[in-house]
């Protein structure tokens, strides 16, 4: 069965109308007592994104926005409720042949937030970093493995001598470098980074960001998930802002930062300490429940500009003519 769609071949990654809903009632009895009114957490709610080869896309949102779940969904670590994910034209959230499965696993890699728990404490760094090669299904000679290991370590600013050590001998920032080396060694087409600098000191974060900037100059394709708008601006070509499982605004980074259109994007930028922007806005109230959310715009309960239509109808995404800026807000009719 042909799973390749032509219009998706230009994109490295194409996510279409993705939904990831988590059931609240899990046990049989719970479901029975729900009497047909089952509850779901709408973690990712109809999300579509495109990523071209050599591009970095930032997924930005606060906690509960669904940004991490989106990353896991792309990787296959979360169950997809509805929608499609295409990688180099191949629909990866469906039954794949062994060869396709192997290709997918070797070419979509993830770096996680917590460097302490993502490295096996019983393995030396040489083992940790070369493991993806060992499970790749490809055959490598010893010297090839050695060569790739040294290159990966050098790429992240570590030394060849570090290969014989154990994770506990390294600091948090160094551990994160090891996690990045482990991903780089298989030369993946796409890297997903989930808040990889959030747990690090500012000066150490700056070093990791520098590694990413270097990787970017080598045309690496990356999805960078973060809540930090400063970091997002530094390394991403394009940004998508998420709120309550939806992408509410996306486009070229410079566009979004110089001309934020969605009230939530503006509120997010306003809240950043040290941001000298004019016309700051602040949201009131709390994020409503993600369980079976009410219809209409997700920001309705907190938006200072809300109108009647915002309560009942979810706004369509409006694009500008060049495709550099899109926003889903009833107040924005055209860009």
């Amino acid at each position: 069965m042909n799973q390749v769609l032509e219009d998706n071949q230009k994109s490295l990654l194409s996510v279409k109308n993705l939904k990831i809903y988590f059931p609240v009632e899990k046990s049989f009895l719970d479901r029975m007592f729900a009497l047909g009114r089952l509850k779901f957490v709408h973690a990712v709610d109809d999300v579509s994104i495109e990523l071209k080869k050599g591009e970095t896309l930032g997924i930005v949102g606060e906690s509960g926005s669904g940004k991490s779940t989106l990353g896991y969904g792309i990787l296959g670590l979360a169950n997809i409720t509805e929608g499609s994910i295409f990688f180099e034209g191949l629909k990866i959230n469906s039954k794949l042949s062994l060869k396709q499965e192997k290709y997918k696993k070797n070419n979509i890699q993830m770096v996680f937030q917590d460097p302490f728990s993502s490295l096996n404490p019983a393995m030396r760094i040489s083992e940790v970093v070369t493991r993806p090669l060992m499970v790749s299904g490809n055959k490598y000679t010893r010297s090839q493995v050695r060569q790739k290991l040294n290159k990966a370590l050098n790429d992240v600013g570590l030394r060849e001598e570090d290969a014989g050590k154990y994770p506990h001998e390294f600091s948090g920032g160094q551990k994160q470098r090891i996690a990045i080396a482990r991903v780089l060694i298989v030369d993946p087409e796409l890297i997903i980074a989930d808040e990889i600098t959030s747990s690090l000191d500012v000066s150490i974060q700056s070093q990791i960001l520098n590694i990413l900037i270097k990787m970017k100059s080598e045309k690496l394709s990356m999805i960078y998930i973060t809540h930090d708008l400063r970091v997002a601006r530094l390394i991403n070509d394009r940004i998508a802002i998420m709120y309550m499982g939806k992408i509410i605004e996306h486009g070229k980074t410079s566009e979004i930062y110089s001309n934020p259109l969605h009230p939530y994007t503006r509120a997010l930028l306003s809240a950043i300490p040290g941001n000298k922007m004019e016309n700051k806005i602040y949201l009131k109230g709390r994020i409503p429940s993600l369980i079976n959310p009410k219809p209409g715009c997700r920001l309705y309960s907190r938006c200072p500009y809300r109108k009647k239509i915002c309560k009942t109808e979810y706004p369509k995404m409006v694009n500008d003519s060049s495709g550099k800026h899109s926003v889903a807000c009833h107040l924005v009719k055209s860009i």
Binding site: S171, S203, S206, L229, L269, I272, R286
Partner: protein
């Protein structure tokens, strides 16, 4: 505004471990004035938290301290534990910590925990009905929605932002003169962070408290603090009025710190990472703690520890070659 209510003088705190010594605070001097918000900025191992915990003597037993912490003419480091408990903790000084989940007891309701705090307040309220009213009022001031419902809830039922407000409410209802907030917003989303900090600054005025605000976020402190202290490797490297320290930093560390924070506007190329590792608190140093990573380092920097020198009104720098 100009009266000093807390003075930390050449504080040294060493943790004595079985096989090593941790130099948590190598030399810290700063003071807090009445009605001001003072920010202490630093990364891991800077000594910012331990310095402030020392003012409450909330440190483990196996420590060695030197220097003075003076409140109301008393050196807190020399007083008996019972004196500190009676006069300082929850009385003169109250503290808000980083993780509100850990600060609240999971098996007691919010109302119960707040009433418990009321027992330690200077002016007792006494009447149970009045106490409930008081608690609801203070939650209201902190913009907690439906406070009458919240007091019957348990910590796990509330969001991080809510919990942090409650912890702040508890600190405030104790009527302390000094509030120490140790990274109170680090675990919160940025939009909630903004609200919580606004609350702290507003209530500081209403309750006439003086606040020490600890954070790793220089920009956050610059937005709210009157004066700032920059710490690294257990030492104060620079301090002064916020305006001066933020806009005209003299310590190479402060400068480097400002440059390694990704900019929100302007040229991305201005971003410059700081190389090297954070100073290990177990390491014995002969010179400036920042020396191994400093762009401007010269031979003297590694051989001699520069002293904290006064260069202007409230302005102090610890550097042989300040900018």
């Amino acid at each position: 505004m100009s009266e000093k209510i807390l003075e930390v003088e050449n504080l040294k705190v060493n943790f004595l471990l079985p096989d090593s010594i941790v130099y948590a605070v190598r030399d810290a001097s700063f003071d807090l004035k009445r009605n001001e918000i003072m920010g202490i900025v630093g990364e891991s191992g800077s000594g910012k938290s331990v310095s402030c915990l020392s003012t409450l003597r909330l440190l483990p037993k196996k420590i060695k301290t030197e220097g003075k912490i003076i409140i109301d003419g008393h050196n807190i480091l020399e007083e008996e534990e019972s004196w500190v408990r009676k006069n300082i903790r929850g009385k003169k000084i109250s503290m808000v910590f980083q993780d509100p989940t850990v600060a609240l007891n999971p098996i007691y309701s919010i109302g119960w925990q707040m009433r418990e705090a009321l027992m330690f307040r200077k002016e007792k309220i006494g009447d149970s009905k009045k106490e409930t009213e008081f608690i609801i009022n203070i939650l209201d001031e902190l913009k907690v929605t439906d406070p009458e419902q919240v007091i019957n809830k348990y910590p796990h039922q509330l969001s991080g932002g809510m919990k942090q407000r409650i912890v702040i409410a508890i600190a405030l209802l104790l009527q302390s003169d000094i509030l120490i907030a140790d990274e109170p917003t680090t675990s919160l989303d940025v939009t909630i962070q903004h609200e919580v900090v606004e609350v702290i600054t507003r209530l500081k005025k209403d309750y006439e408290m003086s606040v020490i605000f600890i954070s790793h976020d220089l920009n956050l402190l610059a937005d709210y603090c009157d004066r700032m202290v920059v710490m690294y490797g257990g030492m104060v490297l620079e301090k002064g009025y916020t305006d001066e320290v933020y806009n005209n930093p003299k310590s190479p560390y402060t400068r480097a710190l400002l440059k390694c924070i990704p900019p929100l506007t302007g040229n991305k190329k201005d971003f410059e990472p700081i190389p090297g590792e954070i100073l290990n608190p177990r390491k014995v140093i002969q010179g400036c703690p920042f020396e191994p990573r400093c762009k401007k380092r010269k031979e003297k920097c590694g051989k001699e520890i520069p002293r904290l020198e006064k260069t202007g009104s409230e302005r102090y720098i610890r550097c042989f070659y300040p900018d």
